[in-house]
């Protein structure tokens, strides 16, 4: 074995021995350090996967949606508006979309009620999301009563339970026929919640949206790229709790590094003084401190990332659930597809391992360059 490698191995032997002599202190440091990396890694994995999943499944969302607004509030849109929209060059088809919310007082849950774009549901039947089926313990063929806008109960037969694999978009969904929707919600015929447009050329979205606002000034077009952008920015680092978590973890890394960089304990100073006195070079002391910093930070990084991954993708992010659930009764039990971005991992690595390792070396260099006699006496 080359001499230089053998030398480093001896240094590692000594460093690990030194770490093990201060088991309690270093063990606590490793635990807290790994915990901080774990939180940061969990947030990164969760948000990245959710954003990717959204981009993948919402790629088929409507191309342009036209809402009607009056004094800043959404109103039901007359289906007759479609005639004006058809005059816009590039618009291929226009379909009315009927959807809204239903609060189930018995279970304290909010449902999204909707008519499929092609009104494929048979009258008197509904399709329900997997979270609703679980909450209400409903099975196929069960009869579910809902209270209509006029206070009268209406009953529906469960004809379909939407597959659990699509819970991320359908957990709270109730699909019904147009007739049933109008009878239950009181939305008169001739009106829809909004209109869905398909266009010939996706590059014309912005032009068509601009024309819509000119032809129908009381409307607001929402184009697909805006839908996708919404979920691209969702859980961005600037958003509320995510920002707090990031700020907390960055501050923790700063405290760790600052604590290391500002000085060594009397015991550590004495150790360096003795090593220098028995003939260690300054470079040996620095190499020892490098291995010490690397040992703690690399282990903390790997453990934090591993547990973060298991937490988010095998444990469904159970620690985040209370925050994500908020006050809602319905929460989809979706499993996210693991997605790791090399950039995120590198950022995490450089944020956790590099500053700590450097901060471990810096004070040791200061002490190692002072006369060993004065170091031991101080």
């Amino acid at each position: 074995m080359p001499k230089s490698i053998e030398r480093q191995l001896h240094l590692i032997d000594f460093t690990v021995g030194s770490i093990l002599r201060r088991k309690g202190k270093n063990g606590a440091l490793l635990f807290v350090y790994a915990l901080v990396v774990f939180i940061l890694a969990s947030v990164l994995f969760f948000t990245r996967s959710l954003r990717n999943e959204a981009a993948s499944v919402l790629a088929n969302s409507p191309e342009i949606i036209v809402q009607r607004t009056l004094t800043g509030r959404c109103q039901f849109i007359p289906i007759g508006y479609a005639d004006s929209l058809r005059t816009i060059r590039g618009v291929l088809s226009i379909k009315p979309r009927l959807w809204g919310y239903y609060y189930d007082g018995g279970f304290g849950a909010n449902y999204t009620i909707m008519v499929p774009l092609d009104d494929t549901m048979k009258q008197g039947t509904i399709a329900i999301g997997s979270a609703i089926a679980k909450l209400r313990k409903s099975l196929l063929g069960d009869i579910i009563p809902f209270t209509g806008y006029d206070g009268n109960a209406q009953t529906f037969t469960v004809a379909k339970i939407i597959d659990h694999e699509s819970a991320l978009v359908s957990a709270d969904l109730i699909l019904m026929s147009e007739m049933d929707y109008r009878a239950m919600s009181g939305v008169p015929s001739g009106f829809a919640t909004d209109l869905v447009l398909t266009v010939r050329n996706p590059r014309e979205y912005a032009t068509i949206a601009e024309k819509i606002t000119r032809v129908l000034p009381d409307t607001r077009p929402i184009v697909k790229s805006e839908i996708l952008r919404t979920y691209d920015a969702v859980f961005s680092w600037r958003a509320g709790i995510v920002l707090l978590l990031f700020a907390g973890t960055v501050l923790s890394f700063f405290i760790f590094s600052f604590d290391k960089a500002t000085g060594l304990s009397a015991e550590e100073r004495k150790e360096i003084g003795i090593l220098k006195a028995i003939g260690w070079e300054t470079s040996d002391v620095l190499a020892m401190k490098f291995w010490e910093g690397l040992a703690i930070s690399l282990m903390a990084f790997c453990l934090g990332v591993l547990f973060g991954y298991v937490h988010v993708f095998f444990g469904a992010g159970f620690l985040f659930a209370p925050v994500l659930k908020g006050w809602s009764t319905l929460y989809p039990s979706f499993s996210l597809t693991p997605n790791i971005n090399a950039g995120d991992m590198l950022a995490l690595f450089f944020l956790s391992v590099v500053p700590y390792t450097i901060a471990t070396i810096a004070p040791a260099w200061r002490i190692a360059t002072i006369d060993p006699d004065s170091v031991m006496r101080s």
Binding site: E53, V169, I222, I241, T329
Partner: protein, 102 residues
Amino acid sequence: MRLSTLFIGINAALVAAAFSLVVHAHVCTKNASLADARTAELVRDYGLTDLAVFTEANYTRHPTMTDLNTPFQDSPMSLEHFPSGSLLQPPSHVVEPYAKKY
């Protein structure tokens, strides 16, 4: 066993485990594309626009369909009080000035 051997062994195992996550994620992404395609089909058939992650308020259930007034529908001065509201950013098409967009 030498302490350095133990140190290198443990760290190598940890780094290898961390790398195996990348492989695992890659395999899972490949396998999930079929399920994602089925969900995307459902999104197209039903005309869906949002993820059903936050069902507590309409503007967090359908953030893409919301506008600046939606969180204040209860009263003009009502403060945003749903926990999920603090997790989501307002969509850019809502906060960007209308004139700037078109």
